[in-house]
Symmetry: C3
Subunit: 270 residues, 3 copies
């Protein structure tokens, strides 16, 4: 029989002991859990980036307990929550929108509990490290089989904080998309997907134009993959999450276009 | 039944294969061990920082074998040791003070062995990678249940190298503390704790002054958590290890105060 | 009984979710696999560096499935392969030379299959993330016990892409070696080994000279380990893989010598 899975995403980084301590807390409660670190490299406090990464990752990992901590308001009044979603997954984290897009993509929330005063939290509760004191121990107890209703107080899912996703729009013959995230290679993932290409005039293997709000038009090739263009050349492509993305073969598209998260990008056909 | 736990802390970083190879060595000897990486981001050769992180981490991880390698004198005459401590934990690492504060905090050392010539070390022994050749294989055999007395030669714990911890002091109405570690967010953990606050005149929610040896007095708020001050504002707070710490909400206290590990910080009431 | 081992090496880094997603894919297929991350810090697209690290790591990790992804030509015509080698190991990765030195060191290839169209690959296949879509699922099925012949089409191992390793040479009284890799401490691993020292005139504990192609001769000590020279002093030593290496005690040899991967280094006796 498969062990209970716990995935873990955060902005804690790996320089300090924060992630290791959370692993220790989980192991002490549910030693049989298999903990998979999705990433701890979310930019500090960037709830929106964390939400995007969590959403696009879940489809590829086994259902289980999905712990996520990007928590700029730790210790303040934001709620801490555990959410059951349609496909047998449970999400655990701060109620700041981080969990919302993943929950929606996984079929929507079927039940929610407020875990701020969970009987499984560690005492004394710190004011700054709820990953250790609330989220990890609750996730571990859920992995151990404790029912959702026992880890916190029932709450109305309609009261959860939501992040409204950005959406691409039309501007004349341009598709205007937003940069959703930048990976360590400098590839820019946009909020436009396959469905936004209809009527865009873009044709695979042909040139397209891209520009930022204040920038000049630059030529890119609309290609299938990096190797379809020469080293150093930019390309527009559908990434592995089927989102339109901008890359530079063996290069850095973020530096090339001088674009960052949330920036708008105008894409025009040849 | 819970698997044997091995925690692993080092200054190896994750860029190279050092950590992965140690995991491989452990798995080859004791496949049932669950290895938890506390962190491998200790600043290179910083034994004092490694000791501080190990000490404050152990209370949150299950008892087991606790492997720690920050080893500037690898290959020289420093001893390699395994230590039994009061609460069923065993610590393994170089005898340079790294293990000392954690051993003290865990109740004190009950037995020590010198493992430099352990029969479990890998041969040929390298002169530069004792994590792979001595510490990991000894830790794995301990995790497998080999008694402490069989992994090395008995030695008198009184001969172990100690790190004397810094201690805060009074200077007029100021509490003078030392920076113990800096995390990746720039938060400065001090060596002063809750017990040092008595008579300090500090009051929660009120201003306090801080300065470094050569620096000007700067105002901070003595607060419970980051969200109690506005973004960009500094605060003095008790961190999750109950140590006094300096942070900047959504900012970097190390840059703000221009303070680093071992620097003295004067803290005065309003 | 030991679980099936999967080791994983890549240039994905840990900032993004690429590694975590591959772990998730493997866990979903073969939950009993123990996955050991060798490193994900290979410099981006540096197939030669990845091959060197994989080769020198394998001797220290248990036999199993060894997944490696440094894949600058993902989505192009390069093959994806799984290789059986003499000592019960199976290597999985792109056919660009990455696996070749490790396969040779492990005793040579006994069978090879092309897995580009493996029935175990994920669909829809992305053009940019074959770690997730081809390599991880094939590795997981091999770990689960699926025979090599069932994960792909048989191919002639003689057709595999090879990386010819650099070899040191003589130039007068100098041994001319190449920098094979640089670790995060700035230590330079050379392609010369113990066997190249015969007749070099180098004597342990004595001075030697080193220079790069365009650089001046600099003195180093030929020593056993870092602690044999004073802090800040350079040394030539046999590293833990028994390769000649250049280091600076508590310093950075790459910066000191201004040398990088593939650079030639002239080594002369006292």
């Amino acid at each position: 029989m498969a062990p209970p899975f716990v995935t873990f995403l955060s902005d804690y980084g790996l320089q300090d002991e924060f992630v290791g301590i959370c692993h220790g807390v989980i192991a002490g409660i549910c030693a049989e859990a298999m903990v998979i670190d999705l990433t701890h490299g979310i930019p500090r406090h960037d709830v929106r980036a964390g939400a995007a990464v969590l959403e696009r990752s879940l489809a590829f990992v086994p259902a289980g307990v999905h712990l996520a901590v990007v928590d700029p308001d730790v210790g303040a009044q934001r709620r801490a929550v555990a959410l059951a979603v349609d496909d047998a997954r449970t999400l655990v984290g701060p109620d700041n929108g981080l969990l919302w897009p993943a929950a929606e993509a996984a079929g929507g929330i079927t039940a929610a509990v407020d875990i701020a005063r969970s009987r499984f939290r560690l005492e004394p509760l710190s004011a700054t490290f709820h990953g250790r004191d609330i989220f990890a121990p609750v996730a571990a107890h859920l992995a151990k089989g404790v029912p959702l209703g026992e880890v916190g107080e029932p709450m109305d899912p309609a009261e959860l904080v939501r992040i409204e996703p950005t959406v691409p729009r039309r501007d004349g013959d341009a598709l205007v998309a937003h940069v959703r995230s930048v990976d360590r290679f400098g590839n820019l993932q946009l909020d436009a997907g396959h469905e936004d290409l209809a009527g865009s005039g873009l044709r695979l293997g042909r040139a397209a134009g891209v520009r930022t709000a204040g920038g000049d038009r630059r030529d890119v090739t609309y290609a299938r993959t990096f190797a379809d263009v020469a080293p150093g050349q930019p390309l527009l492509y559908e990434d592995s999450s089927r989102r339109l993305s901008l890359g530079v073969n063996h290069g850095d598209a973020s530096a090339w276009l001088r674009a960052e998260v949330d920036d708008e990008v105008w894409i025009t056909p040849e």
